[in-house]
């Protein structure tokens, strides 16, 4: 079983978690001013990389907090987790030593 390091609770079994999509997708501050294309971009378009991805997870059956997670979508290896609200991590640090 995958152990996911919750930034609050420490390493916990994956069964306690729910996936919650790509992280750092900011809602437009004023939706009335966006074009249809910009709104569609925000709603539907995600980066979906083969490789390192920053995504949101929720420790639903634990502390119930949302947090961010850097995961390699090829190996399923979790490289880092950090609290929601903290700045987006620089992916360069993972690309060198990732595989």
């Amino acid at each position: 079983m995958l152990l996911i390091p919750c930034p609050y609770c420490g390493e916990r079994p994956e069964l306690e978690f729910r996936y919650a999509g790509e992280a750092h997708v900011a809602r437009p501050a004023d939706p009335m001013k966006t074009t249809d294309e910009e709104w569609a971009e925000y709603l539907y378009f995600r980066s979906n990389p083969k490789g390192i991805h920053i995504e949101r997870w929720r420790h639903i059956s634990g502390c119930a907090r949302f947090f961010n997670c850097v995961r390699d979508t090829v190996s399923d290896k979790i490289l880092k987790t950090y609290k929601a609200g903290e700045p987006r991590v620089d992916l360069k640090q993972f690309e060198k030593g990732a595989n």
Binding site: Y8, R12, S61, G62, C63, A64
Partner: protein
């Protein structure tokens, strides 16, 4: 005029007793008052005085004093357990202590039910459905957390080396109880 007659039924009604002599037994807890309390650390400190037990600020901890227990489930969330019938009194006291300080206090007395699992094989018994490491070194006395048992969400609190308290939504109880009955056959 409609006459309402409401009686409270134990969630354990109709369930078989679970016990394996010398190894493990599951014992329903007495009816209790329960609250879900949310707020910041300041709110928790104020509620502690009214509740009579310190709400732990560190995560995954239980503090207990007689009939009252406070468990930190998340950084701003606590489960409060108290003696049956204390809901109104406690709500009033906590509201008074908090004043206008931002918080939420929800009575979940009838949503949850609880039982103790005790005996030399208690950890092994619970491990049949719970994926956490329940060894005393990884899950020490006084530790408590929300987790799962098979597909049901529970709160697990280690009261002593060989006694755990389980809190579970009452509608999930027959599901968990059935699994524990099966597990008892295999101990």
């Amino acid at each position: 005029m409609v006459e309402l007659k409401v009686t409270r039924r134990s969630a354990f009604e109709g369930l078989h007793a679970i016990g394996v002599s010398g190894k493990v037994s599951a014992t329903p807890s007495a009816l209790a008052t329960r609250f879900s309390f949310r707020g910041d650390h300041e709110a928790a400190q104020r509620a502690s005085k009214a509740f009579g037990v310190t709400l732990p600020l560190a995560l995954l901890k239980a503090e207990t004093n007689g009939t009252r227990t406070a468990i930190s489930l998340g950084p701003d969330e606590w489960l409060l357990i108290a003696e049956d019938g204390a809901a109104q009194l406690l709500a009033d006291e906590i509201e008074k202590a908090l004043g206008t300080h931002f918080h939420s206090l929800v009575d979940i007395s009838h949503r949850n039910t609880g039982f103790d699992v005790s005996g030399a094989e208690a950890a092994t018994f619970l491990a049949t459905g719970n994926p956490l490491d329940l060894h005393i070194s990884a899950f020490p006395v006084g530790m408590a957390t929300r987790t799962i048992f098979s597909k049901a969400e529970i709160v697990l609190w280690r009261k002593s080396a060989d006694t755990f308290h389980v809190e579970i939504w009452r509608s999930f109880l027959p599901f968990m109880w059935g699994l524990l009955e099966e597990a008892a056959h295999e101990l």
